[in-house]
Symmetry: C2
Subunit: 330 residues, 2 copies
């Protein structure tokens, strides 16, 4: 089983580092100047079902880790892949997933350079779990942080929210919904690069304060993390929130609020007001940012709070999620 699986990985992910079949990948990093600054991240993926409209666990595992790297402003370079397989898992499905990872890695220009497989007895894991870790190199003197938001900054989202989580809930088939919703899983590093380039072109390299991908817990959770870390208030406007009609409809039936639903191909940026419109315009030229929009702004008070101006002119607090998050959404 191990040999079969390793053969599969070399066949699909094959690159000189992986082909060496040593226990570790070895590579040089350089930012062209002094010591290289690196970004390093990891995520495990336990999504169920494994295949869904717009993607699968493999594509999610590649793009998700690319995005965690990209949110630091780093260029993603290398990924590791660790597989935990339940005994008896169909090799045809594994092949499909591995091939999907290869395509996602190729599309994003990253390499899967080291990996590991463990097989556990039937009933001790649910089909397949994948861990990816990733390394990127930071070329510029950037330091985005959830603690950098300042009063007056604008809040940008790179497109429609709630697509991924809603797709997964629909795919579980607990309700028989016929929709054409699909996961937004996508690699966002080129979008981030465009944003950095635009800020630098305008002479405001530090105008991008915070970058986060609103995955588990959705936009509401990410904004609350930023409001809390930066000790500011974030105010968003309900009528500017981009939500696809089908997603809104499915969420209503499923009892979900798109603000709290996971995204896998979107980012939230806190950007200085003076450059926000230019950054949004530039984002819209990238295929992964074509629906980018300003959804709100940062205020000084009440610190630590996210609030929303409703379509009817009222204001409500957008809390951190209390209770259960949707399980196994990524």
């Amino acid at each position: 089983m191990h040999e079969l699986v390793e053969g599969l990985f070399v066949e699909h992910f094959g690159n000189p580092m992986l082909d060496r079949l040593e226990d570790q990948a070895v590579f040089e990093v350089s930012n062209g100047r002094g010591p290289a600054r690196l970004a390093f991240t990891t995520d495990s993926y336990v999504v169920t079902p494994l295949f869904f409209s717009g993607g699968d666990i493999g594509r999610l595992a590649v793009n998700g880790t690319i995005n965690d790297i990209a949110m630091s402003g780093a260029e993603p370079l290398y990924l590791s892949a660790g597989f935990i397989l339940e005994e008896g898992f169909a090799i045809a499905d594994l092949k499909r997933i591995v091939e999907s990872m290869r395509v996602a890695a190729d599309d994003a220009g990253v390499q899967i350079v080291t990996g590991d497989t463990k097989v556990v007895e039937k009933g001790t894991a649910d089909k397949l779990f994948i861990n990816t870790a990733g390394i990127g190199v930071i070329h510029d003197a950037l330091s985005f942080s959830a603690s950098n938001a300042r009063a007056g900054d604008k809040v940008i989202v790179s497109g429609n929210i709630g697509d991924h989580g809603t797709t997964i809930m629909v795919a579980r088939g607990e309700l028989e919904l016929e929709t054409d919703i699909e996961s937004d899983t996508a690699p966002l590093h080129t979008l981030v690069k465009d944003m950095i380039d635009e800020a630098q072109r305008l002479g405001s390299a530090d105008a991008i304060r915070s970058l986060r991908d609103p995955t588990r817990g959705g936009v509401a959770t990410t904004l609350n993390e930023i409001a809390s870390s930066s000790d500011v208030c974030i105010e968003i406007h309900e009528d500017t929130l981009p939500v696809r009609e089908e997603v809104q409809g499915a969420c209503e039936i499923l009892g979900l609020d798109p603000l709290y639903v996971a995204n896998e191909g979107k980012l939230i940026a806190i950007v200085a007001a003076g450059v926000a419109d230019a950054v949004v315009a530039r984002m819209r030229e990238n295929k992964y940012g074509k629906d980018s929009v300003v959804i709100g702004e940062v205020r000084a008070d009440p610190a630590g709070i996210v609030c929303m101006r409703t379509a009817f002119g009222g204001t409500r607090i957008v809390d951190m999620l209390t209770g259960e998050q949707l399980p196994r959404i990524c």
Copy 2:
């Protein structure tokens, strides 16, 4: 649950990079000269039981990934940790494991800088799986490889074999054995550094051809991989193989051959004959190499084969393991 777990990790693993609670760790790497050469590796740990004599899954996850980095000659620096928890897993056990990881990381001088937790429903994972990925920096122009062994080289093992796998089998309690065997889980990077230093002191920096830690599949599997990659014959001598008496006894009862049993704190080195004795002498000064010994040598023919001179003067072929390996041993 997630918040509780994250709190636990920050409390135990706390360091400036992790405390930032961003989605990725950012750090500089440098080898003091030009672009840094890095080693990158990953392993998932699914060992059962989670606690055993001499260690637990957490210590194994830290040391195992340190060792995969160390076998490239790199200095291990940073680890990621990804946890997949079965709903209902005892927080007291998790605390004990996380604390054990912290101690192991401290002992080895590495930092756990980024992490992730997923909780899955009861019955869809067996208690706890841990993935660690790791980054190390290679200071010297080293390139150990399983394909570098040459006829005439010596085969060194850094101590008693079979301890880890035998401990796990005993811990499963299928046979009621009373033994004082314990896992050899240990970080081997200081031992590797001592070996490199000794080879350089003797003016033979390339005298260390291959370094591997004989984990899954044991010494026999590792030697077969080297014999195959280097297209050489490896001959070992049964009467020089260091096996603790209790391990030998337990293996006989369990129907195991120590040559095929996993080790988690041992390395196999292929070293040029001229420096082998000096390297072994130096290894014995390190607490993780005090029982180091030459167990055989490399020959030209028959290429790709591992054979053993038995205690009775005969020779037998040491095959690759056929059939099932011991499941969930690491």
